[in-house]
Symmetry: C2
């Protein structure tokens, strides 16, 4: 097996801005059929991540504002790193996606555990 | 690389019954830190699946009853099949988990794309 890199599996991230209501984020998750929404600022830089798990937590805890459920300390990946390293990082943190960013924290895309699992089934 | 089987990665499924309120399911997803809840009947047999994605859809569409969001036609796996086959099935249906059942549809556990991704990072 030759080594896969993030560049081989990364795809466009579905994004949102800080000031969007939770309802709009929930609708985007459903419409785009994804579990992860990357929060970006006006320059396209990473400012957080919100997932269907976070929306579920908002419902479970009766929280209404996006700022209450967004994860700020985001675990990320670089475009040129081996997929194996990124998989280990997801496993270590019990997370199912890594936004891919450049050295200026601009969001280039996202890699999910579903993308990685597809490699095994190739 | 030797072949992995479902038996090597299956783990206990977090379950619920048909008559539980959506709020209780949302709380279980958060408390157990999972994305997939397998719906079982009183004999422990498979009757559906509900995920954090479905809870997000309930919020997006203002649905209140579990019966409105549960997925009934569940794609499953068998304990003795190769993991590669199961990975292909998840990719084909764009889903991130497979309840593992026996010939009587009793739920033995679950395999997620996160479990499969961990194999790559091993
Ligand atoms: C800890 S996981 C538990 C459930 C499941 N393993 C999953 O990934 O959905 C759920 C939490 O992880 C957070 N999360 C997802 N991807 C993340 C990432 N790349 N960096 C930091 N947190 C992340 C989500 O915002 C959510 O609060
Ligand atoms: C089509 S996926 C799209 C988002 C993402 N790929 C994921 O799996 O969460 C979301 C839907 O798949 C359904 N689903 C998850 N696992 C399933 C399974 N094993 N069989 C049938 N449907 C399943 C969920 O109930 C939910 O309605």
């Amino acid at each position: 097996e030759e080594t896969s890199f993030i560049a081989n599996v990364v795809h466009a991230a579905v994004t949102c801005k800080e000031n969007e209501p939770i309802q709009a984020i929930a609708e985007r998750i459903v419409k785009q059929s994804v579990n992860h929404i990357v929060v970006i600022d006006d320059a396209g830089k990473l400012s957080g991540i919100v997932t269907s798990w976070d929306i579920t937590r908002a419902m479970a805890e009766g929280r209404k504002a996006l700022a209450d459920v967004v994860t700020r300390r985001v675990i990320t990946a670089k475009i040129d790193e081996p997929l194996e390293t990124a998989s280990k990082r997801m496993a270590q943190h019990n997370i199912s996606a890594l936004p891919v960013i450049n050295s200026e924290r601009k969001v280039l895309g996202i890699v999910t555990s579903e993308d990685v699992a597809k490699i095994l089934g190739r």
